[in-house]
Structure formats: structure tokens, C-alpha cells
Symmetry: C2
């Protein structure tokens, strides 16, 4: 296993700067985000990573397939748009030779990431919602939409040599970002498809609490498409999206998880993906130095 920088850990850096930073710090791989790749230009990004001799450990991200759960025409249109966008993401991942396309599958239909549910919800004392909800509470249905979307996308990805990596997110993100909350659930969704087409992500921030974590990592075996590490801060900041911390700054005991991922057969890159206001404010070169030292200190098994 070798260390990889997910570029949002040094978010102020452009793709070109992040690639140069990886070279400066002797990293062999980088995880990229679609919008940053678009800013740099896809062809230019391909040139940069090849010239630097870097592997692209992942492209973030596809997914958000659940809006199809909205009723009628709105739902059909949202589902079709999501599939089109995911096909574009697959094409970009193929261009970049990314090891996988990370899939954040989406939350409850009509709930937008980080946005409130809407003023109309349940504000009338003594009555149910005054008007029909602008979103759906059908969690089981949303999970079915994900399976339907994968059935559309997996063959398309397979033809282009791209692996879709289903990422279970911490249950706190279930309403708005991912109705896949556990590794076992992600694994169950991946099994109908060839392993070359659909795998799973093990991200310590999202799964560290799971009582079934170690049995599910063993069960996942070669389905593990990406291993991402960052710590879980406690208490979480008001914006829970920024609760990801440098390894050693939170509550996670990394070594047993890394050992389990190794024993499951994973030999890919280990991506460090940290969304954190303090880390983003720090000097990116210092962040990379700390990241490398902490990786050796607390992530790698003795």
C-alpha cells in the first residue's frame, strides 16, 4: 500500500499545484475531484499526472442517483439527468486512468446536500405537514433507485475499464448525501455486478463505529476498490461536512482497520481525504509533511 493525496486535503491548491506537491513529497498517487479537473482541463490534467508519473487513485465523484424517487415527470427527468452526469464522470475517469470512480449515491429524494428540509415541513402544531413535502421520506425506495442506477451504469463503466466504488457514508449523511450507511449494505449492492465494474470504498471516517466493520471488511475482500483514511473529530463542528481530521486528531484506532484491509487483500493506494477548515487554512506543504508522518505513526500497522 502507498500513500495518496486526495486533492481536497489541500483544497487551495489547483490540480497542477497538487500534482507538483505530490512530486515534491515523493507521493506516487493522487485522488482528484471532477470540478477541479474541469478547471485545470481534462486533457491538461491527464498530461500533468502522466508527466509526474502519478497514479490517479480515485476520481470523486459520481452518484446522487436517488432524485429519481421524486414523483412523476420530475423524478423521471432527475433520474435521466443523474445517469447522464454519471456517464460523463465514467468517461472522465477512463481518460484519467483512475483506479475507481467514487460513488456518493445520494440521500432522500428532494433533500439537497447541506440544505434544510424546507419551511413547509411539519410546522403546523396539531397537524401533519401543511402542504405535501418537497421531499420523500421513502428511504427503502431511495435505496431501490440506487440499485436501478447501478444496473444502468455498471456495464457502461465496465466497457470503459472504470470501476464504480460505492461509498457508505456515516449515517449522519443519510438524509442528504448517501442512503448507503454501512459497508455491508454497500457490499450487498455491489454483488450483482462483476467485481471489475462495482466495488466498495472503506473510508475510516464513515465506518469506524460499525459493530460489523471487521467482518464486513473480510467479507468485502477483493471488492475493496479504495481505502481512505482521516480521523473522526469529536465533537463534530457545526458544519458536519468539516468533521474530518488529520489522523491522530480524533477517536479512530486506525491500525486494526488498516490490518483488516490488508488481510482482505487490498494492495491499492491509501488516500488521505480531509475536509477541515484548519487543515485548509494551513500551509499545504506542511499538511503533506504532517500527513506522511501521521500515516507512519498511527495508520500503518507496527
Amino acid at each position: 500500500m502507498s500513500l495518496s493525496l486526495n486533492q481536497w486535503t489541500t483544497r487551495r491548491w489547483s490540480v497542477a499545484e497538487a500534482v507538483a506537491g505530490c512530486v515534491r513529497h515523493d507521493l506516487e498517487a493522487i485522488g482528484l475531484w471532477r470540478q477541479d479537473v474541469a478547471e485545470q482541463g481534462l486533457a491538461e490534467t491527464v498530461k500533468l499526472v502522466r508527466a509526474a508519473g502519478l497514479r490517479v487513485s480515485s476520481l470523486c465523484r459520481g452518484g446522487f442517483l436517488t432524485a429519481g424517487g421524486l414523483p412523476g415527470e420530475e423524478g423521471r427527468r432527475a433520474f435521466a439527468e443523474a445517469l447522464d452526469d454519471n456517464r460523463r464522470a465514467v468517461d472522465e475517469a477512463a481518460e484519467l486512468g483512475a483506479a475507481c470512480l467514487v460513488m456518493v449515491v445520494g440521500g432522500l429524494p428532494g433533500v439537497r446536500p447541506g440544505e434544510p428540509l424546507g419551511e413547509r415541513i411539519g410546522r403546523t402544531p396539531g397537524e401533519g405537514p401543511a402542504e405535501p413535502s418537497p421531499f420523500s421520506r421513502d428511504l427503502a425506495g431511495a435505496r431501490e433507485r440506487v440499485a436501478e442506477g447501478l444496473a444502468e451504469l455498471a456495464p457502461y463503466a465496465g466497457e470503459r475499464g472504470v470501476k464504480l466504488a460505492l461509498e457508505p457514508l456515516h449515517p449522519i449523511y443519510c438524509p442528504d448525501r448517501a442512503v448507503i450507511s454501512t459497508l455491508g449494505q454497500a457490499l450487498d449492492l455491489s454483488l450483482p455486478f462483476p467485481q471489475e465494474q462495482v466495488g466498495v470504498v472503506v473510508d475510516t471516517f464513515h465506518v469506524w463505529w460499525d459493530p460489523q466493520l471487521f467482518e464486513q471488511i473480510a467479507r468485502a475482500g477483493d471488492r475493496i476498490a479504495s481505502y481512505q483514511v482521516c480521523d473522526y473529530l469529536h465533537p463534530l463542528p457545526a458544519d458536519v461536512l468539516l468533521g474530518r481530521g488529520m489522523m491522530g486528531d480524533g477517536v479512530i484506532d486506525f491500525r486494526p482497520i488498516t490490518r483488516a484491509v490488508l488481510e482482505a487483500g487490498y494492495r491499492g493506494d491509501v488516500e488521505v481525504e480531509i475536509f477541515n477548515a484548519d487543515v485548509w487554512a494551513a500551509d499545504p506543504d506542511e499538511v503533506l509533511a504532517t500527513m506522511k508522518a501521521r500515516y507512519a505513526d498511527v495508520v500503518l500497522p507496527a
Copy 2:
């Protein structure tokens, strides 16, 4: 099933006021908290609930058994103190004739509820923690301490006719409040003990997201000792403890969960426990009226 007021839903009310409120609103049961019972006086509380003809659907709470995971003498003392406090809680539950004693089992050893991890954690760039952690990251060990504590307490509770109700908490509370995060995990911990001694709590706020929820409710069957309902607000407030909302104000689809709990055989009271700054600021009588209406509108199956 019949509706029960957990007294923290109308937190500004004393036990006496909450009992009077239940009578005023034709409720048959109330859920009590130890510190409020202590303020009213245990004997006086027993008199009040009997005179009002109320059932005590639960006493909150026992638990916090994981501090025993701290090293050496400190751990041994913390574990012994926790067991003593839990025995007192069992005695109080017996006095009150409570249907169960709710057990919030505790988080990582040394992490205090709602408090930060401590300044010393992982703040040294390029190194691990500068000093030994004031807490333990041994999640598996903490879970073993819970099982050990239950082995001590279950027979004691059984002799007094009290049922310990293990409550899985949402994974966001895993660091500081409960290393039991799923219903299946709570059930596994309960099975070594007679059903009269150890059961489980189904609290919609904590378990709504769980992909295994319905199969685990069916599996729980008669082990379900308490069914608590409140909604899951999105986004959560900065103080995540206050993210519990009135039914209908959040993302939970209650009817399928209530139906599953009924099909599992549960016929006890349905407790409404809401920690929410707006609800606490409102007129408690209005809160009870809204609670009853919402229960009929969105919680009870059609």
C-alpha cells in the same frame, strides 16, 4: 399501544407538573428521569404516579459502563462506581414500578459526554499525541466492558423485577455516549440474559437510517422493552443532542417502523422523548396537544 410522555419533552415541568399534565391530556403513562425524580423525591413521585393512575413506561437512565476501559486503578474504580450507580438506578426503577430502566451504555473510555477530547490529542504536527491520550480509542474493548457490566447487573435487576433496556444510539454518539450503535448489536448483547432481565429500546431517532432495521425489529420480537418516537431533524443543530424533533418535522417515515414494532409483538407504551430547544421553549400544554395529534397523524399505522 398507548402514548406516553417522556418528561424531558416538557423539560421545564417538574415531575408533579408533568404527572398533572398527563392526566389533563388523558395520557396513561409517563417516562421519568432519575435527576427529576430525585428533585421531587422518590417516595413522593411514587405517590404522585399511583394517585394519577399512570404507568411508568421507563426510567432514564442507567449505563455508562465503559469507563472501566481506562487503565489500571482508575479504570477499576470507575467501573465499580458505575456498577454501584446502576444498582441504585435499578432500585429506583423497582420502587417506581417502571416497565424498564433505559441503559445508555457509554462511549469511549475517558471521553465525557459533549466534552472535547482534550487539547493534548494529536496537536503536534508530524507526531502522534504529545502525551498519552486522556481517553482510550479501544472501541472493541469498550464494548466488552458493557457485556461485563451487564453480567453483573442483569441478575441484580432480575431479582428486583426490573428489565434493563439496552438503547442503541445513533453512531454520532459513539465517541461519548454509546458504543452500541445498532439494534442488531444491542440484541446480540441482550441474548445471553433472560428476556425478563435484558431487552432493547427501539428509538426512531437513533435507528431510522439502519439498513437492517426491519429485519432486526422482527428478530428482536419480545426483546423490545421500549418503543420511543421522535423525528430526526435535518440539518442537525450545532448541539447534536438537540436534533430530536416533533414527529412530522423531520425525515422519518414512522408508520412502517410502528407497524414492524407491532408485528414483532410489542404492546407496551409509545414514549415521545424530544430534546429540542424550540419544544422546550413552547407552552408544555401546547406541546402535549401537538404530540397527541402528530402521533395520530404520522406515527400510528393507517
